[in-house]
């Protein structure tokens, strides 16, 4: 179907078209210099189709032709995704730079997967076998994984293998098999398939209740506000509170197979940091470069807004694809507020009736729909795969009472709220231990966590009271509670991201340290006065902090552990 442009306003184009128009189908606006700008149909009114253009609309004219397709916005899935850096529409950015230079230019698109690269394919089915959607026909090695080549997920019913290529090197678009379906339908299969990004990809036997703790090696998360494989969590926080640093740490240390980083409408500089650092860092679990388990979807703040809206969907679709292989995938979206703002911009141009702060009325359902694509699946072959989604939120003015934060809190399983007070006091990670919550069960028994949370709350109460009545007016018992809360904050909740050892604490070590600290917290020190209490707790803080800096099971580690045992045995009066 073809159409003509009748209106242009910002990145919104209205086209008049004859024939069947499909909502959310892809169209191309043809600029008179030959460039074809990709767009998506987002509203149909009679013969008028409203399109959001994924590029700057500069130079488009009334009467320019529009080419409509019937397909929705899709991504290409196949071997070679890992290690890639894509924009929101899955254009490989390094190759785009080779082709068109320093700047991004409107109307240039490239194949997501390299059509020339050969992959060593090993078939796992033979002619005559029956297969169905999502089932493997064979596999290729992709970095550290065996990447199964699966029957396209959208194909319904059973298919009989008519031909399959022998083991050997093939390019991604080479035919590897031909299958025949129910009513003698013949179809060819290559190593790639396409999937519409706004449709959840779930080709499994059942969806499971996520329960396996996902270790990020950030103590305050794993021990206090845990997340699980297949779960969801959000990190709202004002600017400068450390959202992006926390995401970067998680992307390095989290115990998952694949990490998808969606840099959505944030600073380009931060992406560059990931781009430059990741290839140099090794994944302790595989000994290979971190880049080999990472896909970066990068639509930074100065790149076109509509493509920013698409970028989180592109990211989650790639995450779901790797889940279909039985892998644990983590999607880190930074920041979902920018995605919501992209929705707001489009909604404003469509002149829809606005909701709160001019966000569209469907904001919450879109947010919910996105987070619901996380989950833990039992696949048809019995394997279990998961997608965990962690999104940052950048609330205006750092105030959590705004639509995006509130809409997100309704649908996530854990909330890691960053506070300006903590980041100003250099207490990193600045997750507020009093406001944050998690509905999941982590590596520490819930009663222990409850005990500590109670202590933190009481400590905070005492601290506030002390601001009024002064130290003199506080009893030694209350003062001790406050000191214990501070002690836990100092030696456990705070973690130095720039120290090699302290930056990542394994689950076993967390359990050991947590239990040891719990002994201190539960102990009745019987202090005589506040001065003594302070002196003892300062000494304890120093011991535990140095313990955190000592490499696990090193001599230093054992030496400090002994001293800590002594500290506990003598109630801190040993020195």
């Amino acid at each position: 179907m073809d159409g003509r442009i009748v209106a242009v306003f910002g990145n919104m184009v209205t086209a008049e078209a004859e024939g069947t128009a499909f909502q959310n189908s892809v169209a191309h606006c043809c600029r008179d210099d030959g460039a074809k700008l990709m767009a998506e149909a987002i509203r149909i009114r009679g013969r008028n189709v409203d399109l959001q253009v994924f590029e700057e609309t500069r130079g488009l004219k009334i009467g320019d032709s529009v080419e409509f397709t019937e397909g929705m916005l899709e991504v290409e899935l196949g071997p070679g995704l890992l290690g890639q850096i894509y924009d929101g529409l899955q254009n490989p950015l390094p190759k785009l730079a080779e082709k068109i230079g320093l700047h991004l230019k409107a109307g240039h698109y490239m194949e997501a997967l390299d059509g020339d690269e050969k992959w060593a394919f090993t078939p796992s089915v033979s002619v005559g076998d029956e297969v169905e959607a999502g089932e493997a026909l064979g596999s290729v090695p992709e970095g550290i994984f065996t990447h199964p080549i699966m029957v396209p997920f959208g194909w319904e019913g059973k298919w009989k293998v008519e031909s399959i290529v022998p083991a050997g090197d093939y390019a991604v678009h080479d035919q590897i098999a031909e299958v025949v379906g129910g009513d003698d339908q013949r179809r060819k299969i290559t190593m790639t398939q396409r999937w519409p990004i706004k449709v959840a990809l779930n080709c499994s036997r059942e969806r499971l209740l996520p329960s396996k703790p996902l270790v990020t090696k950030v103590r305050i998360i794993d021990s206090m506000f845990p997340i699980v494989s297949g779960g969801t969590y959000c990190i709202p926080g004002p600017f400068g509170a450390g959202k992006t640093v926390l995401q970067q740490i998680t992307s390095r240390h989290a115990e998952v197979d694949v990490v998808i980083v969606a840099a959505c409408g944030e600073r380009a500089g931060e992406v560059v940091e990931t781009l430059v650092e990741f290839p140099k860092l090794t994944d302790p679990r595989t000994g290979k470069s971190l880049m080999e388990r990472t896909v970066i979807i990068c639509n930074t703040s100065s790149m076109p807004v509509a493509a920013r809206g698409a970028s989180v969907y592109t990211a989650v679709t790639i995450a779901e694809y790797y889940r279909q292989m039985g892998l644990n995938v983590m999607l880190l979206a930074d920041s979902t507020s920018r995605w919501a703002q992209a929705m707001r911009e489009v909604s404003g141009r469509l002149e829809e009736i606005p909701g709160e702060e001019a966000f569209p009325a469907y904001l919450e359902s879109r947010i919910a729909g996105f987070y619901e694509r996380a989950g833990c699946l039992r696949l048809k072959n019995g394997k279990i795969g998961s997608v965990t989604i962690g999104g940052t939120v950048s609330p205006a003015g750092g105030n959590f009472e705004e639509p995006v934060t509130q809409g997100t809190l309704k649908v996530v399983g854990a909330f890691h709220g960053l506070s300006r007070t903590r980041s100003d006091a250099r207490r990193y990670p600045a997750i507020d231990p009093l406001d944050s919550w998690s509905t999941y069960i982590g590596i520490i028994e819930p009663e222990k966590v409850q005990y500590v949370k109670g202590l933190l709350r009481r400590g905070n109460d005492v601290k506030q009271m002390m601001a009024v009545v002064g130290e003199e007016g506080t009893t030694v018992e209350d003062f001790t509670i406050m000191l214990k809360a501070e002690f836990f904050d100092n030696v456990y909740l705070q973690q130095n991201a720039f120290d090699e050892v302290d930056a990542a604490t394994s689950a076993d070590r967390q359990k050991l340290v947590f239990d040891t600290i719990l002994e201190v917290l539960r102990m009745n020190f019987e202090f005589e006065d506040r001065e003594q209490a302070r002196k003892v707790m300062v000494e304890g803080t120093d011991l535990f902090r140095n313990w955190n800096y000592a490499a696990t099971d090193s001599d230093e580690f054992k030496k400090l552990q002994d001293r800590i045992r002594g500290f506990i045995a003598t109630k801190g009066r040993g020195a």
């Binding site: 442009i5 009748v6 488009l60 009334i62 009467g63 991004l104 992406v271 404003g348 702060e357 205006a396």
Partner: protein, 459 residues
């Protein structure tokens, strides 16, 4: 020969709608009125209705006026001849010198491909200790100065411009008072940097739409110089005026406001400008320092708030000083490890001690008794404010570090600073330390053995 269109159907705010065909989005036009001619930019196409933003405003526009479309988007001259010149928000000379007819480049061009950026790792020396030591400015950084009206933010901006090592300085003035514009010009002239300065000045008396073009003009020229390998410093003041102009135009266009009247795309609009800051692989760089005045001193106001999410840190300018708390250069860690071995330690120690001093002051004002430690901190705070924080201090980084050591030595014992032993041994001022120690020893010796008095004590 381009056609004239004279069927103006709609005039509202700064927007004029004319009936025309074959016009491209974002295209530039000239509208001829009785009061002269002005440039205008297409901001909406609807059938044969073309809406344009008129740079000079719509005062006196008549329905009989003529519009001629230029068939190209907004452009700006780019050549070496720009150096030392002053232009207005439409890119026309403001300095009584002839217009340039050199090569033209487009403004508001596309974003740099992120994979072609390099990680910033070079410091910009400004001679201002509060920046150089505590929140180092880095090449290609985008950093706002959050301030309130009445603060000397323009003086600060001019000083950074004068003292920073840059090949090209570009000043973009938005809603500037005419006095401020003249002050900038005179300062640059007197310091002899005018020959490498380019100014795009919109004063408060000029039409509001021209405000919107200033950052685009300044950054487009800056980017072009950077691609030739030049180190460019772009100074923008005041970005709040830019945001307010956006608001005005958006409301005129009947767009739904999102927060306090600002359009929903405020973040994207600001980001598109700030993200022009870049360090190119194998070419030059653009560093952006911009003033954002906070209405009512409120950092949660949409303009500073959105800015904070975009920029790589911020300087707070309050009471004529760069506030050590809250001010942050997100990129400082990339450079301050390579300057001098004591840089980071001094940075941390001085700020922690100054925080302590503020607490002591609070205690004092509440009437609590001052301990000897409080007294030391108070003394330290006073010296620190006078010798380091004062904006008139102009010394290179190394001298400033030495000065910090001297202040520390004057007020505190080495152990009280919390600085690592090795650094203390290397940097603690010998003369001062020795003198203090000598006096101490002498006093001690006097007590125990009067005969000891006067003998040389070597340490």
């Amino acid at each position: 020969m381009r056609k004239f269109y004279d069927h103006i159907t709609h005039v509202a705010g700064s927007v004029v709608t004319v009936t025309a065909t074959g016009i491209g989005y974002d295209e530039l036009a000239v509208i001829k009125t009785r009061r002269g001619s002005s440039l205008a930019q297409v901001i909406r196409l609807e059938g044969d209705h073309v809406s344009m933003q008129v740079f000079a405003g719509t005062q006196g526009v008549s329905t009989g006026d003529k519009v001629r479309f230029l068939g190209r988007p907004m452009q700006v001259v780019f050549s070496e001849n720009l150096m030392g010149r002053i232009f207005n928000g439409s890119g026309e000379p403001r300095d009584d010198r002839p217009a340039l007819d050199d090569e033209m480049i487009e403004i508001g061009g596309p974003s740099v491909n992120p994979v072609r950026r390099r990680l910033p790792d070079k410091m910009v020396r400004t001679g201002i200790p509060m920046i150089d030591i505590f929140n180092t400015l880095v090449v290609s950084q985008k950093l706002p100065i959050f301030s309130t009206p009445g603060e000397p933010y323009n003086q600060l901006l001019a000083r950074v411009g004068l003292q920073a090592e840059a090949d090209v300085i570009i000043l973009g003035g938005m809603g500037l008072r005419h006095d401020d514009y003249l002050t900038f010009r005179n300062t640059f002239e007197a310091s002899g940097v005018l020959h490498r300065t380019i100014m795009f000045i919109h004063t408060a008396a000029d039409p509001v739409v021209e405000t919107l073009l200033v950052p685009d003009l300044a950054l487009a020229v800056g980017e072009a110089f950077a691609m030739q390998g030049k180190r460019v410093l772009v100074l923008l003041t005041d970005m709040t005026a830019f945001a307010d102009a956006l608001k005005e135009v958006a409301i005129t266009m009947e767009q739904i406001p999102s927060n306090r009247g600002y359009p929903g795309d405020l973040y994207s609009q600001l980001a598109r400008r700030y993200e022009k800051a870049v360090d190119f692989e194998d070419a030059g760089s653009v560093t952006v320092l911009a003033v954002t005045t906070m209405p009512g001193g409120d950092v949660t106001h949409p303009v500073p708030d959105n800015t904070g999410y975009i920029t790589e840190g911020q300087f707070y300018l309050t009471n004529g000083r760069i506030e050590p708390f809250g001010s942050l250069s997100r990129l400082k860690q990339r450079v301050n490890g390579k300057t001098r071995d004591d840089h980071r330690a001094i940075m941390d120690a001085c700020i922690q001690l100054y925080a302590g001093c503020r607490e002591s002051r609070e205690k004092r004002s509440m009437g609590f008794e001052m301990s000897p430690w409080d007294e030391k901190l108070l003394r330290y705070g006073e010296l620190f404010e006078a010798k380091i924080m004062d904006l008139s201090v102009d010394i290179p980084l190394e001298k400033a570090l030495d000065l910090c050591w001297e202040i520390l030595a004057e007020c505190l014992e080495p152990a009280e600073t919390g600085i690592r032993r090795a650094l203390i041994e290397a940097h603690w001022p010998k003369s001062l330390g020795d003198r203090a120690k000598t006096e101490q020893l002498a006093a001690k010796a006097e007590k125990t053995d009067p005969a000891y008095k006067g003998s040389a004590v070597t340490v």
